[in-house]
Amino acid sequence: MLDKVIFFFFAGVAILSAALMVTRRNAIHSAIFLITALMATAGIFLQLRAEFLFVTQIILYVGGIMVLFIFVIMLVRLDVALHQIRFRLQRLVALLVVVALGAEVSVMFWVARKIPGDGLLIRGSAPVDKLPPNTEALAKSLFSSYLLPFEIASVLLLVAMVGAVVMAKKRTDAQ
């Protein structure tokens, strides 16, 4: 009962603030609603007893990425940007993405229906109190079964970082 209340609270906040984020004109307001949506998602992670994901979501997405978003928004002169011609194909692209996403979700539900049992709901797994600690479980799977993808991802991130530095450096040298 309480679990349901908490879930629907977080889910509702997430959906509402995501909708508000898209519809607001003011970029800072959009950013604030994005923060709220991310925080609500973090709450859902916490409710699933994934406390490491919860903290990582807050530290990385809310505390790191969103701070940089707001930093950039404050540096860009928005009034100028608003008067410039907008990206014309925006609506078409958005429509396509929405259709693709909807198709994906419905396919997922359709496939899940064919799985015997409760479909998407996984019941009969370990009770919540008996679950292994999330941090340790995550570390073990990352550094044993998924070591190669993990390393590939970190190399990719490193390449992106070096690329960004090189591009930024070129521009300052040119000036």
């Binding site: 800072i28 530290i59 790191g64 707001i70 404050m74």
Partner: protein, 453 residues
């Protein structure tokens, strides 16, 4: 009975301790923060050979309460062109983040709001860093140049120094092997040593970075009053301003608690494993009793009768605390409260020492320039923190895999880290020299200003 009421009752039955301690934190932290401000003013006065606040209460002991009342009844001004909702929300965000992160701090083995969550330390660090949004949004919503420059500086500063602080915490966590607060302190008990002695460089990096994160001098550029009036708080007044202040001081307590937990042995007394030093358990009681004796001696010298009585009251309160700390030591059936009570005492003492260090640095060092701040963070602290993480890990591998003596391994790797620090400093000096020769500005004496003075 109504099922909703029943569910509520059950909820309260499970969580009443947590709820009650949450209320205690919300109620007590403003008071504590007020007195930290008083201590800071007194210390500043002492270091500048002044008396500081003396009028309200004996030795200014009631000054924080007077200040709070003044701030409450001050006019609350919202600028016309401000973004009203965000302007209203920003200080609340700042304070809420600081207070929420306090929930996971264990002020002693028995004093904690949240149960010992599995990611306790990360939770504290992550949530307290959200207070930045209060500063940034407040600065933006004020619609003033000073505010927005303060907010931008604050963002840049926090993003840079959070990395260094995070990496310093990682070195500590490598030694502790857990994110749980209790497990971290326990690891220091099992190892017979505080982690500050195993990873001194990490502690130093964390101390510097946490000063920058709490926006305190010498890194208080977001509110540098000689350049930006009051930075992001310029347009704030009255109680909203007080909320920012509260958030800042609560954040100081939070970073002090993190440093204490991770590097200074948490609630452990000095030498917790050495049995012939067990008489150290008397120290908390002796310390508070000494404060009480000092207050009693000052009581007779107060100028007004009311102040004499007040001072006697403070003295007796100190004696009562000393008795509470001392009695369980000698009464066998009360022995079980000793770890909790004394743990809280030692923890708060260590946090107080850390905050004292902050204040000392504030009164000693001049403010950094912004480019100096950035280069210190990016060119020195972050590389040094990365090297330090590597070195601490290396020392642990040398100890566990190759059977080195732990101290040898740690001394060697710490030496390596310090060598890196020297190299980084050298590189930095070369870079600044090159930059100044490239722009044609050399270290020449400034031309004499004949109208000066």
């Amino acid at each position: 009975m109504n099922p909703t009421v029943q569910a509520l009752l059950q909820f309260l039955q499970t969580w009443w301790v947590e709820l009650a301690s949450g209320f205690v934190i919300v109620a007590a932290v403003p008071l504590v923060a007020g007195y930290v401000v008083l201590v800071e003013r007194k210390l500043m006065a002492d270091m500048q050979a002044r008396l500081g606040p003396m009028r309200v209460g004996p030795h200014g002991l009631l000054q924080p309460i007077a200040d709070a009342v003044k701030l409450l009844i001050k006019e609350d001004i919202i600028p016309d062109n401000a973004d009203k909702v965000i302007f209203w929300l920003a200080p609340v965000v700042s304070m809420t983040a600081a207070l929420t992160s306090m929930g996971a701090i264990a002020f002693g083995p028995a004093f904690q709001v949240a149960r010992d969550i599995n990611v306790g330390l990360l939770f504290i660090v992550g949530v307290s860093s959200l207070g930045l949004f209060g500063i940034v949004l407040g600065g933006w919503a004020s619609n003033s140049h000073y505010s927005i420059i303060g907010a931008l500086r604050s963002t840049a500063q926090l993003v840079s120094y959070e990395t260094a602080a995070g990496l310093a915490i990682v070195s500590g966590l490598l030694l502790a092997g857990s994110l749980k607060i209790h497990a971290i302190v326990d690891a220091q008990y099992q190892n017979h040593v505080w982690f500050i002695f195993l990873a001194p460089v990490a502690f130093f990096i964390y101390a510097v970075a946490s000063i920058a994160e709490t926006n305190r001098a010498p890194f208080d550029l977001p509110e540098a009053e000689s350049e930006l009036v009051a930075g992001y708080m310029t347009e704030y007044s009255g109680f909203r301003w007080a909320l920012y202040f509260l958030g800042e001081y609560a954040n100081m307590i939070v970073v002090g608690a993190v440093a204490t937990t991770l590097f200074l042995g948490g609630w452990l007394r000095p030498f917790p494993n050495v049995h012939w030093l067990n008489w150290l358990d008397v120290l908390p009681a002796l310390f508070t009793a000494a404060v009480g004796v000092y207050c009693a001696r000052r009581a007779g010298k107060q100028p007004v009768a009311v102040q004499t009585w007040f001072m006697w009251g403070v003295a007796w309160a100190c004696f009562a605390v000393a008795a509470i700390l001392a009695v369980p030591l000698f009464v066998a059936p009360l022995k079980f409260v000793v770890p909790g009570l004394h743990g809280a005492f030692w923890f708060l003492l260590k946090v107080g020492g850390y905050i004292y260090l902050f204040m000392w640095l504030r009164f000693t060092l001049p403010r950094y320039r912004f480019d100096q701040l950035m280069s210190l963070g990016w060119y020195i602290l972050i590389p040094l923190a990365i090297v330090n993480v590597f070195c601490v890990g290396l020392a642990m591998i040398c100890e566990t895999e190759y059977g080195w003596n732990r101290w040898v391994a740690l001394v060697v790797t710490t030496m390596f880290t310090l060598g890196t620090a020297l190299f980084l400093l050298h590189l930095h000096e070369k870079r600044t020299a090159a930059a100044s020769s490239a722009t044609g500005v050399t270290e020449q004496p400034a031309p004499q200003d004949t109208y000066a003075g």
